[in-house]
């Protein structure tokens, strides 16, 4: 039996930053991770001569050295910035729907606006006005929400109060006529995991604004490099980590955390747990039911489990240009209708849209010389995969992956002839490695009702805190930040005691 100030369950983004923040502030921390490597989604794996990036497509919030964004600041405070080398992407995305549309938006406001106006000349004014709205809205939101203005009011922040909770689709409909234009502007919707109809305007506006202002980035050595850098700093700060060791149970007495039992049966005494395992898993699987107030399950029960992903990892024996891949981030497909795409996420029918990320375009050193790699991904819910008998699983997996490849072939003909390695991850693969219900990569669905405006995320169990996508927006920037917030809350509570 051992004793720790805090036990952090899970070495995903949130668990890692939380463990590091706590250790750097003098807490005695044990970090438990069920897998053999830190990162959760933020990881990589090797096939042949390729190291595949698993999850990171476009890192948000970095900003440049001259104009640092919040994530650069956070990584700097954590002391890991100097150990990482970031690569800026000059382009937001290319959107290609053969015979329908092909447009590339640079990560510069004016250039993006000009490209849109050139493609949709009749809606030039509306495009200008829309970008004005996004910029003014986000300026209000930063000052009011992120900088916590104590005098927030409707009069002071009219745009925020008017638009924040509106459906993104309704704003797009208000501004624009051409469905293609609406599609291009809301291209990032899969980054939230719901079609624009369901995404509050504040999310869509922030996505676009933040990627333009702070630029999309990638990182040398893949997202595994971020995870390894944070873990290394944690170990140097005196933290203990156990891999291949899941938490089996959180011990609670009298509504207070008392300890953790590991998969190996070790009992660890602690008054604080930061769970990066997600609220559902934590309350349902890790804590005995009698210790969780029924109210807590009611609060969770009004939420739905978000999408997972289906990814085909491709290693090519040639450079991206040889296959016509000129941009890092390519949203491709045959159907531009987000409602239709979203409906397909609940089926095993061939997807009609996908994201093809080719990191070698921005970072020619990403793969070995003369080779390149791409992640071809479509989001998907886990349900349809649960209805397949295990004996049919592999066939179903390859059939779906072939559908994705056929889609990629339409935009980049001949790409299949250069495949040297290919690996497939289904929602069940994500479930296996993340142990998340539904293999969810973003936690719960992120409807407007699921924003922190509508819920108190503090746990009724004293000493229990959460980090990661199940208690906030998903994505690297936000999950990394969530761990720091959770750690601060723990430190504050420790001081009070």
């Amino acid at each position: 039996m051992s004793e720790y100030g805090v036990v952090v369950i899970g070495a995903g983004n949130g668990g890692l930053t939380s463990a590091l923040t706590l250790a750097r502030n003098g807490a005695k921390v044990l970090l438990l991770e069920r897998h053999n490597i830190p990162g959760g989604c933020a990881t990589s794996f090797i096939r042949g001569r390729f190291e595949f990036e698993v999850a990171l497509h476009q890192l948000s919030g970095m900003g440049t050295e001259d104009r640092p964004g919040p994530l650069r600041g956070l990584l700097g405070e954590l002391g890991v910035l100097d150990h990482l080398e970031f690569v800026e992407m000059k382009t937001l995305y290319r959107v290609v729907f053969p015979e329908k549309l092909d447009i590339t938006l640079k990560a510069e406001r004016q250039e993006a606006v000009e490209a849109l106006k050139a493609k949709f000349p009749r809606e030039g004014q509306a495009i200008e006005r829309f970008f004005d709205l996004i910029y003014n809205f986000c300026r209000e939101m930063v000052s009011m929400v992120f900088l916590h203005d104590p005098e927030a009011s409707r009069e002071k922040y009219p745009l925020y109060f008017k638009y924040a909770l509106k459906s993104s689709q309704s704003i797009l409909d208000e501004f624009f006529q051409d469905p293609s234009l609406k599609g291009v502007i809301s291209t990032y919707w899969p980054y939230v995991g719901l079609p624009p109809r369901y995404i509050p305007f504040s999310d869509l506006a922030m996505l676009l604004w933040a990627y333009i202002e702070f630029k999309p980035f990638h990182v040398k050595g893949s997202s595994q490099a971020i995870s390894n850098a944070i873990l290394d700093a944690f170990i140097r700060a005196g933290g203990d980590v156990r891999f291949n060791c899941a938490a089996k149970k959180i011990i609670v007495y009298g509504a207070q955390v008392r300890g953790v039992i590991t998969e190996e049966g070790d009992e660890v005494t602690t008054d604080y747990v930061v769970s990066n395992a997600g609220t559902l898993t934590t309350y349902v699987d890790l804590i005995d039911r009698e210790h969780v107030p029924a109210e807590q399950f009611k609060a969770l029960g009004r939420k739905t489990i978000g999408p997972s992903a289906f990814t085909v990892f491709l290693g090519f024996d040639c450079e991206p240009g040889d296959m016509g891949i000129e941009e890092t981030t390519n949203f491709i497909g045959t159907s531009m209708d987000p409602e239709r795409q979203y409906a397909l996420w609940r089926t095993l029918e061939n997807p009609e849209a996908a994201l093809l990320s080719c990191y070698d375009v921005s970072d020619p050193e990403f793969s070995a010389p003369g080779t390149s790699q791409a992640a071809l991904v479509s989001l998907q819910y886990a349900e349809p995969w649960l209805s397949i008998p295990p004996t049919r699983y592999n066939d179903a997996k390859y059939r779906y992956a072939q559908g994705m490849l056929d889609l990629a072939e339409k935009v980049f003909p001949g790409l299949s002839n250069h495949i040297e390695e290919a690996e497939v991850a289904t929602p069940l693969t994500h479930m296996r490695y993340l142990a998340h219900p539904g293999g969810a990569i973003y936690g719960f669905d992120q409807y407007a009702k699921d924003s922190n405006l509508f819920e108190d995320r503090r746990s009724p169990i004293r000493g229990l805190f959460f980090a990661g996508a199940w208690v906030g927006p998903a994505g690297f920037q936000t999950t990394l930040a969530s761990g720091v917030s959770a750690a601060r809350a723990v430190l504050k509570s420790m001081t009070k005691r």
């Binding site: 559902l280 349902v284 399950f297 497939v424």
Partner: protein, 386 residues
């Protein structure tokens, strides 16, 4: 001091709050989902499996097939060509060995493991000499990447097998012929002498019955007057039996020496990398012969390895660290034991180890001093953290 709650002033806020009240009434009861994730995953990839020997079949003088069934009456599916890592305890040492499954995935009731005696081996003697029907084992679930990938391998496959390297191929051959899959297979199977050929009858029988399976046996040490192909699997031989090699994908599995030899021959035939698949094959026989082994360190040199928080052990330079640890009862998670799966990933705090060129280490793992002890050899006193 708390600021005034501004939220109700946001347009749409009260409506969403109303929705939430309705949703709470129809809340999902997630408590019924307890244990569900583990249950789903265990159907495909349980961490550990129990297996019981139901049958032992002598294949050749030096080879036996062990038919393994599940006492729990469920075996997870696998892809033909995959292996399981079998745990054994011998003379107080707990260790494990990966074996390809030789039965086809369409046989869901059992896994066959076919094991050949390794002269200077440790585990194979035990399996061949001691194991009886009814014995139980623990293993990992099926893993490995040496399987047919329909996304890019195509339909014309050439299997180059050497000795017991036939095991993943027989599984693939059985699957393709049993299920009537539309793939053409040409197996070129090298053995030392005709008595060594494993699955000879089954292969001959299947190739007679199925047009899409051709088998060419090659014997390197033939008896006088042997009528078949003799020698090694050369480019010349492949050209002769295969005809046009350009659309074919070549798979290679056999003893270490065969890789060096056959990969060169494939080079001569001009087979591009994307049409060559190789199986991993465990620690090299002679690590000192590996490129990059430092001069001046003998395989017999012995070093102190401090396992942080556990104990100090002695480890030979010529032996994978994982094995030295197992001798000292420190068990690392393991599956491939070939440097590939990264299950044994361990941090090297100080000291130097040798890792052969094929070890699949992530770039940033290399940077932060992680090693795969199943294929890492100590070159000086070390400290590691597990």
């Amino acid at each position: 001091m708390n600021a005034r709650d501004f939220r109700p002033d946001i347009e749409g806020f009260p409506e969403i709050q109303g929705d939430i009240e309705v949703l709470r009434k129809y809340a999902v009861d997630y408590t019924t989902q307890k244990g569900r994730v583990t249950q789903i995953i265990n159907m495909l990839h349980p961490k550990r499996m129990r297996l019981r020997v139901s049958e032992v079949r002598q294949e050749t003088k030096t080879t036996k097939t062990f038919r393994l069934i599940s006492p729990d009456a469920y075996l997870p599916p696998f892809q033909a060509g995959q292996y399981i890592n079998l745990f054994v305890e011998l003379g107080g040492i707990r260790t494990s060995r990966p074996y390809s499954i030789s039965s086809p995935p369409n046989q869901t009731g059992y896994y066959d493991l076919t094991v050949r005696r390794v002269e200077d081996g440790f585990v194979s003697h035990y399996l061949l000499d001691e194991v009886r029907v009814g014995d139980e084992f623990e293993s990992t679930s099926p893993a490995g990447n040496f399987s047919h990938n329909p996304l890019f391998h195509g339909h014309d496959l050439v299997f180059l097998a050497g000795g017991s390297g036939i095991t993943p191929f027989i599984s693939m051959i059985r699957e393709v012929t049993d299920r009537g899959l539309g793939r053409n297979i040409h197996l070129i199977y090298g053995s030392q002498d005709p008595d060594d050929i494993i699955f000879r009858e089954d292969l001959e029988d299947r190739s007679k019955r199925h047009d899409n399976l051709t088998v060419s046996m090659v014997v390197s040490n033939p008896p006088r007057g042997y009528p078949g192909f003799t020698g090694f699997i050369t480019a010349q031989l492949m050209k002769e039996v295969l005809g046009d090699v350009s659309p074919k994908t070549f798979y290679l599995c056999g003893p270490e020496a065969m890789y060096t030899y056959c990969l060169k021959e494939l080079e001569i035939l001009g087979i591009p990398r994307r049409r060559r698949r190789t199986e991993v094959f465990g620690p090299p026989k002679d690590v000192m012969a590996q490129p990059g082994w430092p001069e001046g360190v003998s395989a017999d040199a012995s070093f102190k390895v401090k396992v942080k928080g556990r104990k100090d052990i002695r480890a030979r330079a010529g032996e994978p660290l994982m094995i030295s640890m197992e001798r000292a009862s420190i068990i690392l998670p393991a599956s491939c034991r070939s440097g590939e799966c990264s299950l044994c990933r361990t941090k090297l705090i100080s000291g130097k180890v040798f890792q052969p060129p094929g070890v699949k280490l992530r770039k940033s793992d290399r940077l932060y001093g992680y090693i795969h002890p199943c294929l890492a050899y100590p070159l000086e006193d070390c400290e590691i953290m597990i």
